[in-house]
């Protein structure tokens, strides 16, 4: 009889961590934890003779492995074939047709001139996704001005964060959502219990009770935010999972990788955004992939996880693990990050920093 190999579908990819592995099903967007020896076995046997290869395990383990293979087959993660060489691995190339993919704009204090500069730059840089943040007051005229100036860009979507204050003109939000189809989402934050008389069926408008009155809400690592897709996976292989091709302009007009990062590459008033973005200095963080980050490099979630370089466990070390991640890939446990005693120093550091700036 000809040899038969058990193969995972090319878009179901094994990622090995320190003590567990995952199969990332990049097609159906699911992730499965599997033991390390099974991961190694799957890699070894994919073009070999699986039934022969199984025999290398002890009798007891053979049964377990066989059961696993059945499970993988039933869940359509893999298949048997006698022509394994006809099913190549997925090409893991990643590229994207833009100089900047996404931008975060802390818009509150910026004037029309600043906004014009930003929208021109976003158009030139072929930016696709924009996040507009209002923390304390929502200025809808400013938002409309911004959206109007984006008309000639290739922007696909604009998400807006705004506080639901008592004087907010909710009718105007509804109007803007119709007038500017590129605004795909309005997130009204800081919704108070008693101030919630505002109701809407508009699917583009979401109310959240969380207070997002400051940039430090960002950077949370949560399995719910994992994005199990080919572009995310392949981008993460060589690039930072948050900051690659990201641009931001903070509340004072500083050009940064992200509003929460301390380093500014110059102010909008004095520097050209396009020039800044081109510089090696600005793009340095783009190349910090998970293989370079402490702990993450040993984590089986590293290619579907987001990242954060603004809030890290050791603020002195730009390669340290994201502060707001509670996962330990060595013990495979998720814990609440904010109460972790080892993280208190960093937590204090960031609140201290923010306190100084306000």
């Amino acid at each position: 009889m000809s040899k038969k190999s058990f193969k995972l579908f090319a878009n179901c990819i094994v990622v090995k961590g320190a003590s567990l592995a995952t199969i990332c099903d990049l097609h159906r967007g699911k992730i499965y934890s599997i033991p390390l020896p099974l991961a190694e076995f799957l890699e070894k046997t994919k073009n070999g003779d699986t039934l022969e290869d199984v025999k290398e395990f002890s009798l007891e383990d053979q049964e377990t492995v066989t059961e696993y293979l059945q499970y993988l087959e039933q869940n359509e993660l893999g298949f048997w074939t006698d022509e394994p060489e006809k099913f190549p691995d997925l090409n893991l190339q990643w590229k994207s047709p833009e100089h900047i993919n996404n931008a975060i704009i802390e818009i509150e204090k910026l004037d029309d001139d600043d906004l014009r500069k930003i929208t021109t730059a976003l158009a030139n840089l072929l930016c696709k996704f924009v996040e507009i943040r209002f923390y304390e007051t929502a200025d809808l005229e400013k938002l409309a001005f911004f959206a109007e100036n984006c008309r000639s860009s290739v922007i696909r979507s604009i998400t807006v964060f705004l506080p639901l204050t008592s004087d907010i003109n909710t009718e105007e939000i509804e109007n803007l959502s119709i007038k500017y189809p590129r605004i795909v989402l309005f997130i009204l934050h800081s919704v108070q219990e008693k101030g919630t008389s505002f109701k809407t069926d508009n699917p583009k408008i979401k109310l959240v009770s969380r207070t997002i009155d400051h940039r430090n809400h960002c950077g949370i690592i949560d399995p719910k935010l994992f994005s199990i897709k080919i572009p995310v996976f392949t981008e993460s292989l060589n690039h930072n999972s948050c900051l690659n091709k990201k641009l931001s302009v903070d509340i004072d007009g500083n050009i940064k990788n992200c509003p929460s990062m301390l380093k500014s590459f110059g102010n909008l008033k004095t520097h050209s955004i396009e020039e800044v973005v081109k510089s090696n200095d600005f793009q340095k963080v783009w190349g910090i992939n998970k293989e370079k980050i402490d702990t993450c490099k040993d984590c089986e979630y590293r290619h579907v996880c987001t990242d954060c370089r603004a809030y890290v466990e050791n603020p002195d070390d730009q390669f340290s693990k994201p502060l707001k991640c509670g996962y330990n890939p060595y013990t495979n446990k998720w814990e609440e990050w904010s109460t972790n005693p080892l993280k208190q120093k960093a937590i204090k550091f960031y609140s201290f920093e923010e306190f100084l700036k306000n």
Binding site: N11, K86, F87, N91, L92, P97, E98
Partner: protein
């Protein structure tokens, strides 16, 4: 300069992504659509006499043309038909005649592309499934047993030989809405009982013997390069006849595949014969590893082959257009 020919009203994500790549490469491009000629009310003319031939639009600047479509048949001129008063029969005749006039005119518009690189040549995009099967067979590719017939008797014999049969349109696969249901031209399995219920002669239709599948192959072809994708439609009964009967919860597994050289060589000959430099080719691989050619879609969707296999076909297409457009 690149000219992109398409139906403006048709939304298509992979097409938009090709544009993204063109922008990224700083390529210059313009658009052309049948809507410019038949719907916008703009002046235009093509003139031919004993000394000159000229077009009101200057086509000489276009070095490369991406042909993705031109005019949507259903909607064009519909405003005229809304107000015309005549019998249904005459209306049908009129629509058909005007359709023919339009297609002749289009041929003349496309004639302007003659000195440019065309991806693909619009002349070659008129698919004739049956001729393509004949050609494929002559080249030595295996094809499903096929019949065009109006005869219940012949269909019964055909059915008897092949057990399971399907029917599909000779022209494009398509469905459109009518009041509460859809009128569709698509691939469908035909049961013995359905044949029994047919009149002795019926509207001439195209039938094929069902080919048992191990996997389906959707192969994107671009300038002699193959980008094959295997579709595991057999795992799911819902998509057994045609994987386009999509199961959203559990989409069929789609993975990159490597075609045997021999099949690639024959397909290359086929594409050359058809004067097609691009297209999507459908094949079936049978459980006993034979490759059966089904059909070619010259301007078919390539987006999901590109995404599932991470082929970046959008970039490949943009690159091809830019190379020829300079």
């Amino acid at each position: 300069m690149i000219l992109i020919c398409k139906k403006y009203k048709e939304k298509n994500e992979s097409y938009e992504e090709v544009i993204d790549w063109l922008l990224y490469k700083n390529a210059l491009f313009e658009f052309l659509s049948g809507e410019d000629y038949y719907e916008d009310g703009k002046d235009w003319s093509l003139e031919l006499n004993n000394t000159i031939e000229k077009s009101s639009r200057d086509f000489t600047k276009y070095k490369s043309i991406w042909f993705q479509g031109f005019l949507k048949h259903k909607s064009h001129l519909s405003s005229i038909f809304d107000t015309i008063e005549c019998t249904n029969n005459n209306l049908a005749e009129l629509r058909w005649r005007l359709g023919q006039e339009i297609s002749k005119t289009n041929t003349q518009i496309f004639h302007n592309f003659k000195n440019a690189y065309q991806l693909p040549n619009p002349k070659s995009t008129k698919v004739d499934k049956f001729s393509n099967l004949r050609l494929a067979k002559d080249i030595g590719l295996e094809i499903p047993p096929s019949i065009i017939t109006n005869s219940k008797k012949d269909l019964k014999t055909f059915f008897g030989k092949h057990d399971e049969i399907i029917t599909k349109p000779l022209y494009e696969t398509l469905s459109f809405k009518e009041k509460n249901n859809f009128i569709s031209f698509k691939t469908d399995k035909i049961e013995g009982l359905e044949i029994d219920n047919l009149p002795d002669t019926f509207f001439p239709s195209f039938f094929q013997g069902y080919v048992e599948k191990d996997i389906e192959l959707r192969v994107f072809y671009l300038e002699e390069k193959f980008y094959p994708m295997a579709i595991f439609s057999q795992l799911d009964p819902k998509t057994k006849t045609d994987f386009r009967n999509y199961n959203e919860q559990n989409p069929n597994r789609k993975v990159p595949y490597i075609l045997p050289n021999e099949i690639e060589e024959k397909l290359t000959i086929l594409m050359k014969e058809l004067d097609l430099n691009t297209g999507s080719i459908d094949l079936i691989k049978t459980p006993d590893k034979r490759y059966v050619f089904l059909e070619i879609n010259p301007t078919g969707q390539f987006g999901f082959t590109s995404k599932a296999c991470n082929y970046y076909l959008e970039d490949e297409i943009a690159k091809t257009l830019v190379e020829h457009g300079e």
